[in-house]
Symmetry: C2
Subunit: 227 residues, 2 copies
Amino acid sequence: MNMKSDLAMHSKIIVTVDVALLTVDLESSLSNGLRVGLIRRDAAPYKEALALPGGYVHPEEDDNTAAAARRVLKTKAGKDVRYLEQLATFSGPSRDPRGWSVSVCYVALEDRETMKQWPADLLARVDALPPLAFDHATLIGAAVERIRNKAAYSALPVFLLPDTFTLSELQDLYGRLLGTPLDKSSFRRKVRELGFVEEVSGAFKGGQNRPAQLYRAKEMTIFDRTI
Amino acid sequence: MNMKSDLAMHSKIIVTVDVALLTVDLESSLSNGLRVGLIRRDAAPYKEALALPGGYVHPEEDDNTAAAARRVLKTKAGKDVRYLEQLATFSGPSRDPRGWSVSVCYVALEDRETMKQWPADLLARVDALPPLAFDHATLIGAAVERIRNKAAYSALPVFLLPDTFTLSELQDLYGRLLGTPLDKSSFRRKVRELGFVEEVSGAFKGGQNRPAQLYRAKEMTIFDRTI
DNA sequence: AAAATAGTGTCTGTTAGACATTATAAC
DNA sequence: GTTATAATGTCTAACAGACACTATTTT
């Protein structure tokens, strides 16, 4: 098999990116609160169906697939995403009815406040997904698993919270991701020793009771290498 | 930008797979013993240069990129690989002189005995790589990092050993991957409680001294989901 | 017996979970 | 004061690292 025939075959492959944009709703008490941002497709295939934001890679425009993913999100959400990480690449002859396709899938994290601008009916609970186009339910499952796994040993979940947050909110978030309630004392000990947050001096969040100290993520904690 | 122009642009993208086939040489005392299987390219670009085994995805033949990676390895090594895992996808306009390219990269693990059939001069130490084609040095770096990270909490490294092995060999391997000598007693305690190996009853490995019990990996320990 | 490696036992400092206590606000 | 949540302190059981010890082979 020579290169010419390889190239001939190759040209049939569809190359896209898809992004699982995750956020968490700390209000909802049922389920873990994880939600994913969907779009409603305006073209075939799967016209009118719900799907992850995604699209073709544009070689003239995109410097790599991560840039393509950022461009797609910028188009759909109107702003740059705070955190983007490559998840995995899905491929095969039947996942896209147009033909043999490769989709490089990314996970993005955004806090609930920022996601307010996303249409509420397109923010689906990840544990109760509606029917989705392509194999996007599978991608979301992989994205959720990735973020859950990382919650156990990294500071990454802070991207799911606003710029400032209380330790109780952070604990609630980790508890939801890990699927188990955490002990307050142990959690704070851990957070202190890992040292990825710092007090916002003098800033408190008040409620019906004792106000809580606000914290922010320390500048450039190394969360992960992004490719 | 309509779909037609998208498709037109899209057809320029080169889709390949590359495989970092890793093994470990427990004899070598200098370095960690990790080695990667290379090939010498027989066609442009980078003709005559050293590179990872890889090639175009064949839509007619391959059911997905993992199948393409297995096919490439089968062609180069003549046998099916024991362990294959998707690593990451690398992309961009300049990593391949032929044009905008996407390479889905895989990590494969094989034991040293099996790798004896690989030409010795094409088994490079990962900590002293020769000049390589494309961005393959980067891919190898990512592959090594992945395997090192997994060594800390999984049974995956057993694929770097022959079917049967002694606990001392297993400890040596983990120590090399983790970059630190491990305590014999603690290591055995851990291996016992994780329970991913079992004795091969009556089988011992003799040397200049007390023979060591041989073990094998238990059938279908779950190492990881492969996509 | 000496040498070398396999394999086990024990001690101890650290840590994570459980839970009690104190602190500070609203009402 | 009561109530609610923030924040800290203390106790304990489990565990990991260090290291000593025993076991079994070759020479």
